[in-house]
Symmetry: C2
Subunit: 263 residues, 2 copies
């Protein structure tokens, strides 16, 4: 472990880069390169502090960062250990359509199919927890990337005459913004349900694809702070152009924007 000590002594206390950050990166790098293997233990906090010539609290802060990244796991009275990698807990991230497409260098756009005041049918009434036939604002639209239709969305919110729909509001067609500008309520929680579905004839025409092809169905329900549903939406994502990817285990350090250079 003399090897580790050498690394630890590289820490510069006069650098503009915080000491805890330098230390965290040194340890992270050793773990990712496999020089510190799963199950191995770190030197004790006091040991690291005295080697580096820094305070124990600073060491603890560095370790805390790696605990957050699930690279280390401290055990009271025993020591701090490199974690065994875990593959059971997978996280799929799902980003805002507009941002995601821009990030990919594609030009996102939205096209209104229609906006109507309708009477809530059984499904809508149940989702929004309102009586059947309550006046409801219905918005249907297509999201496209570089002109290719990719998503078909239907959104429903309870209609109030006081706040009529303004054309400009429909430019950002996200359910939270619709709800907060049309109703006086602020959404605080959003529940999304991801399912699979088969595209029907109507959707196939709108999305310019074949009926009976598979697609993602993403339901979104917004709640206010009293946990009352205030908006419901369903989105159909074309299955041939949408995938969700996730990395587990010793993930490649994309979290918290940490750029690491390997030797």
């Amino acid at each position: 472990m003399a090897d580790l000590e050498k690394d630890l002594k590289k820490i510069s206390k006069s650098s503009v880069i915080p000491v805890y950050y330098q230390l965290a990166r040194i340890l992270e790098k050793r773990i990712r390169l496999g020089k510190l293997k799963p199950g191995e233990s770190l030197p004790s906090e006091n040991k690291i502090a005295s080697i580096c010539g820094i305070s124990r609290m600073t060491v603890r802060r560095a370790i805390a960062e790696l605990v957050d990244l699930r690279l280390l796991s401290p055990q009271k009275g025993k020591g701090t250990f490199v974690t065994e990698h875990e593959f059971a807990h997978t996280v799929f991230e799902f980003y805002d359509f507009f941002k995601e497409m821009r990030r990919k260098g594609k030009e996102p756009s939205s096209k209104l199919v229609n906006v109507r005041i309708i009477k809530a049918d059984k499904t809508i009434a149940k989702k929004l927890d309102i009586p059947i036939d309550t006046k409801t604002l219905s918005i249907k639209l297509i999201l496209a990337a570089d002109g290719y239709p990719m998503v078909y969305e239907e959104k429903y919110i309870v209609y109030t005459k006081q706040n009529p729909i303004i054309e400009s509001e429909l430019r950002d067609p996200s359910l939270p913004s619709l709800v907060s500008s049309h109703l006086h309520k602020l959404p605080v929680t959003s529940r999304r349900i991801l399912q699979v579905t088969i595209i029907n004839e109507e959707e196939a025409i709108l999305l310019n694809t074949k009926p009976h092809s598979p697609a993602f169905l993403v339901e979104q329900i917004l709640y206010d702070k009293d946990n009352t549903p205030i908006g419901w939406g369903k989105s159909i994502y074309r299955g041939d152009s949408y995938k969700l990817v996730s990395y587990d285990g010793l993930n490649p350090g994309r979290e918290k924007g940490g750029i690491i250079d390997y030797e």
Copy 2:
């Protein structure tokens, strides 16, 4: 704000519950109940410290917890503010089949369809980055809950004669455990891709469902620490029995196991 002060003075320094934890919960509760609104600022760290009669470092630790939960956002030289809620970034979690079913009170089981040594076809060769016709271990199995088939899986790993397949290894059919017991390599990274698909005739029979019905397709590729693919699997999850749910914005505090009682 005298209201907040009263809450802050409830902190007991002699309690077995850590002071930073008590403070974090008090602040979290106020935010979740809407008594501290998005955009509002907290009293300064020094102020809170003197009100509670504790050290500033302890206050900082409590605040750090809420920053992690994205409830607070400190700004250098200005103050610490309650964050505006964000709905754009959705996270779908996907748990291990066995654990998830047990958690739901269902009895998970796995049934081998077959285990074979095959020659890698074009698809497998590409996924595992090996030459076509390389000997490959192929495992096909069904995962069931309370006897109802829910998932069909195919797994492929490069075959080595030294470590033959042992019956008992197939009891835990997870790709990481197969790979690490059959090969000498330890998987360090796992990449999963979630897509939609349509069930074909063969899969329909195995899953006891109708062909052409929609399903989730989850591909998993395992890599060792040199980033070489060492295992590939695809799983078909019945669309009628699988959903992914996610909560955003002011989520209901399920993270880090924090149980909060509201008044």
